[in-house]
Symmetry: C3
């Protein structure tokens, strides 16, 4: 190795000692990003057989294919669950991880039933949707909610880190950021999706439709005596049944309730509750429509 | 296979029967996501030779390379077109798909001429752009519009599903969501791009510049007698020539026309038409700028 | 090759001649997108050893692994730096690129120190963050800022194109778009991230927290005598220390200064400076909350 490069390598090693960020204390305690990428793809194959495959699956191959895929998913997912558990508890045994794994896989049929309602919500909620196949094959919301509903079960088991890595994988692909802690009812549809943020302690009812850019987020953060942000607590809004929220609206706060059947217009900023059956919009009259040919000293800018 | 896993596998198979989502009735009728991923990459290589390649292409290799690539693209694209057609019409022959394919490939020069104008629009519209190479190699809007202009031709041929899968592929990579049905004029530029949504029935003129987060979307949806959303119809705005729309503005409605030469400011929510040469902004005076040191009981929150 | 396809191939070759976009004049002067994809992954492995790997790294393997990775990164990055330089100056020698490369690699420890502060900012700024591992493994902002801080050093060396390709790579994965020219202080945190845009000439202080959808962008663009946009110049805002900007706010302009310690609320559109310690929000009272059961002719839409 050229000597200058060797010198730089030494400085980097010194930096590793000084600045941290290295997993050398424990052989197997960090979930792997690449493994999460693979297991999410495998999970989607098991949830939607035939839709994420290169080649079609014949009916008479289905049982065998499913067994093979389930085994592969179980192996990879089990390993990452084990790592997540040991990250917090280095003395944890593999049995604990195995139990969590089996409980999770046992709920795959239940996840699929929820996804069935989500597909229906997408078809009914989007005039551009022409078929269920179109939704499963190309709608980003379905990928995002499939991963989140799955990660949510692991979150409820108390698994740290892995559920978040799964939803961030979906976030990277879809632009939809739903924390694994969020509780989401059936018939959930996000149209377009890019920019949606749903926080850890959100509770969302049934038949809720969101557009892109909608934030269900936290308000200012309580601090403890040392000035540190308090972790945990109910920080995010609750959204009732049959609510629609149009693009780019921001709704914040752990005490904010959006009543059943409400509609929130686009680009709304809301930090308090609204009753059942509300329609929340901005006053139209403060939009100024000016003719550019007229001199207007009050214009903010000219193009 | 461990017995508990075998039991879970059986339950999943039961779920497949009960909940659907399996392509077992027809061997070849579902377009493949992986194939669409590959054909979009191949298409970009053919549209922008030398820019999506690992190694440079020599002038004297160009003819041969182009023939090889065109054959590979034709094979893959033709297969996916055929699947899309048969999904709706299981009796369709391969000849129909072959004709659609050849008509599409025949328009690649025309697509490239439009993309030439889009590159020019990007260079002129962005002070940060220093070269055409920078635009082709790194600007997400170019990838998105290249895929959309291509998918649009297939959409006009009446192909279902495949065009949408292509634009959703671009959406995943760029955060730009343009439905293949949208009609977009030349010299089209989207700066930054993340969060842009352009709906199926949008009509956009020439020399239009959009910033990130801009939505050209549909208003509320008409419902038929059974309460179902009516599919189709003119639902999205029309944007004239030489229009600029700043970040995060939301413009909705099938009867909304943005007149030629207009400018829409940032974060505007607009659901009606504006005449030629308009400048649409919000009143500045409702922005409150408060000093945080002053007690303000009316403050919405404190940090 | 079928004759119709051969005819199309000929037309495409003609288009290549007529419409441009082909790198045939110089063998090695275009940076490769695929190479940039690889070198960004390698860079993240060197910056965060153990976090982007399939298998854990043992402490006694660390020195050897680091040397191997550094060599591989140096080779690939050096080649792309050389291409970027030669794109602007075909007579440039490899020595110039080698010098730039070594100066860059020499600063990896310094980049890591900054990233250490960014991780701390994320942990302190997000109640949902439970560990540093969670932040490094799954927070998109860390990937984006790691790439940007690196690309920024190359930008300051005067390298064109490659820095932009690196930040656009990160943009594609995270939805966060930060130009390599932006100067960003320590303890920088972007929560969620999707839709953030930070312009080329932005200056950002220390302890700044942004939420998703925040734009620090340019205002209208000055034009020269020929009507062409003037490139360069201070076009983007300056943000002081300890500033927090909530989701989807748009702040524009090269003369716009956000004073230290200020907070900008969500969905704000701001084009002028605010003093130290400001809180900038919209008037609440123009939000209309209507009961949907009441007839309201002034309603913009009904659902």
């Amino acid at each position: 190795m050229p000597s200058r490069l060797a010198g730089i390598s030494e400085k980097i090693l010194t930096s590793y000692e000084a600045v941290g960020g290295l997993n050398h204390t424990d052989r197997h305690n960090l979930p792997s990003k690449r493994a999460v990428d693979s297991l999410c793809e495998q999970l989607l194959q098991v949830l939607f057989p035939g839709f994420h495959d290169e080649h079609p699956i014949h009916k008479n191959e289905l049982a065998e294919t499913t067994r093979i895929r389930l085994e592969a998913l179980a192996e990879r997912l089990g390993a990452q669950i084990a790592r997540s558990i040991r990250l917090n508890d280095p003395k944890a045994t593999d049995e604990n991880a195995a139990e969590v794994l089996l409980r999770f896989l046992d709920q795959i049929p239940a996840i699929r039933e929820l996804l069935r309602t989500d597909i229906q919500a997408a078809f009914e909620g989007d005039p551009a949707a022409t078929s269920d196949e179109e939704i499963i094959l190309s709608y980003p919301c379905l990928e995002a909610i499939a991963v989140q509903r799955s990660a949510h079960l692991l979150y409820k088991e108390g698994i740290k880190l892995l559920p978040r890595m799964m939803t961030e994988w979906a976030h990277s692909r879809t632009g939809i950021d739903i924390h694994p802690g969020a509780k989401i009812g059936p018939y959930f549809f996000i149209d377009h999706g890019t920019g949606v943020v749903i926080g850890e302690t959100c509770v969302i009812g049934s038949h809720v439709k969101l557009y892109h850019g909608v934030t269900l987020g936290a308000r200012s953060f309580a601090k403890d005596d040392r000035g540190q942000i308090v972790k945990g607590g109910q920080r995010h809004p609750a959204v009732g049944d049959f609510v629609t929220i149009y693009p780019n609206s921001t709704i914040l706060g752990g005490e904010t309730l959006i009543g059943n059947g409400s509609t929130i217009g686009a680009n709304v900023f809301l930090m308090h509750s609204v009753p059942v059956g509300s329609l929340v919009v901005y006053e139209e009259k403060q939009l100024r429509i000016l003719e550019k040919s007229k001199p207007a000293t009050e214009l903010e800018w000219s193009i």
